[in-house]
Symmetry: C2
Subunit: 453 residues, 2 copies
Amino acid sequence: MREPGAHGDGSSLLLTDYYQLAMVQAYIEHGLTDMASFELFVRTLPAGRNFLMAAGLEQAVAFLEDARFDAEEIAWLRAEGRFSDAAVAALAGFRFAGDVDALPEGTVFFANEPVLRVTAPLPQAQLVESRLINLIHLQTVIASKAARLVLAARHRPLIDFGLRRAHGAEAALLAARASYLAGFAGTATALAAMRFGIPAAGTMAHSFVQAHGGEKEAFANFARSRPRNLVLLLDTYDTEAAARTVVALARDLAGEGIRIDGVRLDSGDLAVFSRRVRDILDEGGLAETCIIASGGLDEAEIADLLDGGAPVDRFGVGTSLATSSNAPALDCAYKLVEYAGLPRRKRSAGKATWPRRKQVFRRYGPEGRIEADRLSTVDSDEEGRPLLVPAMRAGRRVAPAPDLAAIRAHAATELASLPEALTRLTSGPPLLVEIAPVLERLAREADRLVDTP
Amino acid sequence: MREPGAHGDGSSLLLTDYYQLAMVQAYIEHGLTDMASFELFVRTLPAGRNFLMAAGLEQAVAFLEDARFDAEEIAWLRAEGRFSDAAVAALAGFRFAGDVDALPEGTVFFANEPVLRVTAPLPQAQLVESRLINLIHLQTVIASKAARLVLAARHRPLIDFGLRRAHGAEAALLAARASYLAGFAGTATALAAMRFGIPAAGTMAHSFVQAHGGEKEAFANFARSRPRNLVLLLDTYDTEAAARTVVALARDLAGEGIRIDGVRLDSGDLAVFSRRVRDILDEGGLAETCIIASGGLDEAEIADLLDGGAPVDRFGVGTSLATSSNAPALDCAYKLVEYAGLPRRKRSAGKATWPRRKQVFRRYGPEGRIEADRLSTVDSDEEGRPLLVPAMRAGRRVAPAPDLAAIRAHAATELASLPEALTRLTSGPPLLVEIAPVLERLAREADRLVDTP
């Protein structure tokens, strides 16, 4: 079976920007095929954010292992009439044979720190750029957003409801994966549950209630068809009346051994309705029935609800998670840092980069909290834990894909290592990312090496 | 070949919310299998927007034609232990056999107007909801954003540069399609160019310049390898120096019959640099060489640049287009409006809906500009052009998929039909969408039919 969410069709090398093909042809024709290192990093954090969480490495590695052009694609390249026979032949035989070093998925990171480094012959490292960014960016966007939701929810379970408004099928599947590894408890996206082994969760929709002649009949029918994790949706017509219907129904169902596990509120003032519904349930003997809130929630609203003492036990989050609606994109780049053994960098206004293959060295303070990161060259002898680890050598992964549960555990440890100020939902003073003096020196060296007027 | 951008893997019926499966089981068990009509619409326009553009119908129809569970998926459903044998058997045999009516792609529309209506046995119409919204929402988000960029660019060509920051492969491919149908001139995403027949476009990257010892050598090598649509990137080190290098190089290349078609600016103050570069090119005899601007542009920045007279000839737009960064999601819904011949609606706070199968009747004023829309029932005898047209009958499309060029021409006509006030980039008084009195009457009837306390 093909796997859109893992790689599958997504392994087409035509998932690239057209200019990559033109550049690869030029590299081949002019003999620029030496080893190149590119680093993927985020220039600045989105407004209000204090950290990011790396994700998507597994899909990136799977892509690099499988990436190729199929016969139809090669025929199309030939028919374009823009590429030489030699270039098309080289593309037809393309296999990625390079090295990848990266932050393990679930690692928290900050601006200007490499998330992933590719070292390969220049044409290879160039051609895979677009899809690599596409995969790492998406899941890093979602995991970073999900981590904020996890912090806001203070140990209450969160469920991904994002399929319908995620940007396509792959986005929905990978959003389920990225949010689960960041600490979500489950997903409503059935295919993601199957593919990634994520707990599947779901309640009921308004249409189910509407299709019936009345709410009591609808609730009873649903309950009798699905006696596990039974959650009834209260806000189709009148939320409080529906809560009273649930209390009455619970008595009938108890005799049949059916328990109502929860109710869901999806509209209106959730702070107000959650209290009123809690009261109705408690008075009706349903103190064990939990309240699930949904309906356009983001991390600020969840924090507000809990700050105000709203009795919400679980949250369903869709749009704001699956599109990362308040920061749908990161200012990331994949830049050449070394070519044929020489340091390289870019000096564009506001977009200058540090040359050479780099490592992030992380130092910890009391209680295992991050104290500072230091950006230096890979071979430097710095204090601290080096964050980037080998992921591929000579085109093959260095180890089997890690278990998603292990990644999730690592992400939880990482969140616990954030200084308290960085766990807040509003931005404060950023973590200190020190730039080792050697990078300043190398930047000057790289500039001297370039023949500019 | 499987097509992630058209349907392919995306035709899995497990691309659904888990609750749909639970509801389908309950519908089957309780005999709720009569004909149901659901309508997909947008509740409110995003802030600052005056209209939306419908897109994604072709992928929605392709999904409905192909939608099914494969053997692995059925085995997973069975292993979940939550669904009855009868329900799993029904799911295994699932084929969509309903009707679809929809706005043709490229049609402009407003809040509360149905974009698409499904009429099918209730379990079928329910099960396909999640993926239908996922497909129509994505392309409508992108086409609507692209239409604003097209209006801002005032007939200057726009190119989709969005692959790397689109949310996954399907989002990138469908963003290329949606932006092209809305009026973009081409895409940099090679696979989208192949799949949808969109003109492929591309320039060069900073890494190409960086890999060389100097800019002049880099430009010369690129020019000699790719003599068609030759665009050189100026901002790797020093934009003005690079422009002078282009002038000098153009003289050498002229002897070889190579013409420099354009230059690209990707950072810095584009208003300032576009003027300086234009002057350098003009003085150097390169008045025909066009200037392409890119680098995080959105419609407001493009309008500002052109308002200020910046000599930019073409724009490359990536992130803001492919993620619709200032409105990455629409407040859309797919709601039951009719079941077993009876009107249905939802009354949730702020989310109430109009019952019955509806049609939008559009009236035009002088110069073919839209004057008002009227929402009424499908069988009402209203003045104006009915906007929803048949797309599927009994599970089959009513006509072959329209040509993308024809959809693009329709979209251009639609944009030209917007009243001038609605073509502005900031929001003004909304278009009048009249609610026919019959809907008010039907809403009361629907409310009476429901047995609530």
